[in-house]
Symmetry: C2
Subunit: 403 residues, 2 copies
């Protein structure tokens, strides 16, 4: 598995771009993204479990009923959620895009991200889509920029893998910085691949993967109304189509997982206000479920997140978060260590504190990527969750996001 350049345009037959159409006031910020496949593609998606669902998600779900899509249109700056005419607007975005690309409106994935409950004006979008369609090229960065909200960095990645004797490529872009605590799905992630795979197997791959990746990510405990991950697979790598479990499907899953873990880490590192990426690795759990519950509870603890901001090796907060997670663990067997590129340090053994150098701990915790290693010493299962520290800037960003 090799990392390659090109993001969502790395795979054969995919074009993309992003422009500023006028939803956002700041003209320097792109706000409309388009991804297009030269051929109709197998399509799969997972959506937020939030009962308040963005109108675009409802429209996309309808469009993907047949497992086929050919383009993605996405605006930022407005979530098109809790608006009386939201469905109408999302359908109109699809229709205009379909007309410009000369494809069926049912083959459009439509998405929106931004403030909830502000009326969305279709006019700048209607005027922007034709311009955007004409500008399509191998411009994944343009699309990645146009879906950003409070993100400070674009999130893009691509890999290359082999199915039989065919080289396949897969790439993705993501946005997400706040309101991130996915459950069954997450933020906005668009993945493209030229691998041939049936819609059913594509959905199976995606649904299985998100449980180990995006659903193990939390910035602030708030599950968004507009989270969605979609994969388009256009088959242009000319491999034998994957239609069942087996070696080829496993290779595909591995490629997908490489991509999604990378995007999870990128999103965690760029969490609103974050100065540090946290990765909690739970090992030797009795069950997979226990490992997952523990890992996620640790990265979600506001107290631990604030301690990590202060580079304070307050391991008691790790134990506390494990304790209230309701996971079935033997507290007296738990070891905790902190690790970063500056080194690693054991701070808790068998559920109780041990002597350790506060100075070394401070050095370890002053890096930008921190691993929190939790050994449950009770089995062989493991899991990883991602998050970030809680900082003054998270409060600043969210104290005046809307006004």
């Amino acid at each position: 598995m090799n990392f390659i350049d090109g993001g969502v345009c790395a795979a054969n037959g995919f074009l993309a771009n992003g422009i500023h159409c006028g939803i956002r006031k700041n003209k320097q910020k792109k706000d409309l993204a388009l991804i297009y496949s030269e051929k109709p593609a197998s399509a799969a998606a997972v959506y937020t479990i939030n009962a308040v669902k963005g109108a675009p998600l409802k429209v996309t779900k309808k469009h993907l009923q047949n497992g086929i899509a050919q383009a993605v249109i996405c605006n930022s700056g407005n979530a098109n959620t809790c608006n009386a005419n939201g469905i109408e607007i999302a359908e109109e975005m699809s229709a205009i895009t379909a007309k410009e690309l000369n494809i069926s409106s049912d083959d459009i994935v439509v998405a929106s991200t931004g403030v909830i409950g502000q009326p969305l004006n279709i006019e700048p979008i209607a005027a922007g889509i034709p311009k955007l369609a004409k500008s399509l090229g191998k411009n994944s960065v343009g699309a990645a920029e146009a879906i950003m909200t409070t993100d400070t960095k674009i999130k893009e990645i691509a890999v290359e893998f082999k199915i039989g004797d065919k080289i396949c490529k897969m790439g993705g872009i993501a946005k997400g910085s706040g309101m991130i605590h996915p459950d069954m799905a997450t933020m906005l992630v668009f993945i493209t691949t030229d691998c041939a795979i049936s819609p059913n197997m594509l959905q199976k791959a995606l649904s299985g993967d998100v449980n180990e990746t995006f659903n193990m990510l939390s910035i602030d405990g708030d599950t968004s109304t507009n989270d969605m991950v979609t994969v388009l697979a256009n088959g242009m790598a000319q491999n034998e189509e994957i239609t069942e479990d087996g070696t080829a499907f496993n290779v595909f899953m591995k490629a997908l997982n490489t991509l999604t873990v990378h995007l999870c880490r990128s999103i965690a590192a760029d969490g609103e206000g974050a100065t540090k990426m946290l990765e909690c690795k739970v090992s030797n759990a009795e069950t997979k479920e226990t490992a997952k519950i523990v890992a996620k509870s640790v990265v979600c603890s506001s107290l631990l997140k604030a301690a990590m901001f202060g580079a304070d090796a307050n391991w008691g907060r790790v134990l506390c978060a494990i304790g209230y997670s309701k996971a079935n663990v033997d507290v007296d067997k738990i070891d905790v260590a902190f690790k970063s590129k500056a080194g690693s340090i054991l701070v808790c053994k068998n559920g109780a504190g041990i002597d350790f150098s506060e100075e070394v701990a401070k050095t370890v915790l002053s890096e930008e990527e921190i691993e929190i290693l939790v050994d449950l010493n009770s089995g062989v299962e493991e899991s990883t969750a991602w998050g970030c520290d809680l900082t003054y800037d998270y409060v600043r960003i969210n104290g005046d996001y809307r006004t």
Copy 2:
């Protein structure tokens, strides 16, 4: 029901005080509290559900098996949790207290609050208890001060009520500012009453009440390892002992609830770094459970808490938090309003935004106590939850709490 002075010493036969014994470095801060009843009292308690439990809670649970207690000893500055010799230390605290008061060690409630996983030295406590016992008086404030950690205000309250022709009194003190997201129990709350009530009915009253009060309170989503609420009832009001359901029990429940709601509001208002107390009132829910889930989800949302800090009427975050709460609600029926002593303003009707004056909203949200009114328009049940805003100071306090 009248509010009266005196806190935990308001009821007949209760004495209390607090001193600095030396657990905390700052000599201005009291760190050891004692509450004593002249007669053995019916005793009830509820404890944290955190699987990592403070040693003092385990010892207290054992001591309260017979439903009788006569004194409470509590230190701040160290949680005596995740320490290898924690149980031993807690038993020793009980034994020394019992000896000084000339009562049975089994009749002692022992509690600790502070940092988790730091060894606790018994010496300053052993030296402090005799001094503290000698200083006992009608000094509820001294005890309330000695149990504070990051609290900025003491939390104390008392009420007077009538059972038959007897005047009964009930008072309480509480500590709690961070690591607050109670589940079955909460923080440290000590309640005393001279009402005569059997241990069984006392436990029934307390267990029922906490589900509507402390369990509906969240500062930061972190359920502590040392949360506990205890009530001592020494019967010195000479009312006919309450031994079953009925009018007298209902009066007692009402008094208890008046006290606990007051303490919940005090704790929320003094949440770590808080500038505002949030009270989410959910009305017209189909079931009580739905109302509770919705109310708690709203006050727990980091994004809404930050918006309240910024006095930003970002009601989309209220809808979002309701949406991911997994409560069974009809989103299209939800109305949301903000209210404070400056006025009230409707911001969302039938799940969608309505035109409202941003200026008025800003004025409403600039007060220190904010009500978030959620009308589900689907039934007759209601519930209230309490929390606070998320501020820079929460991050500051928790970025360097331990070091």
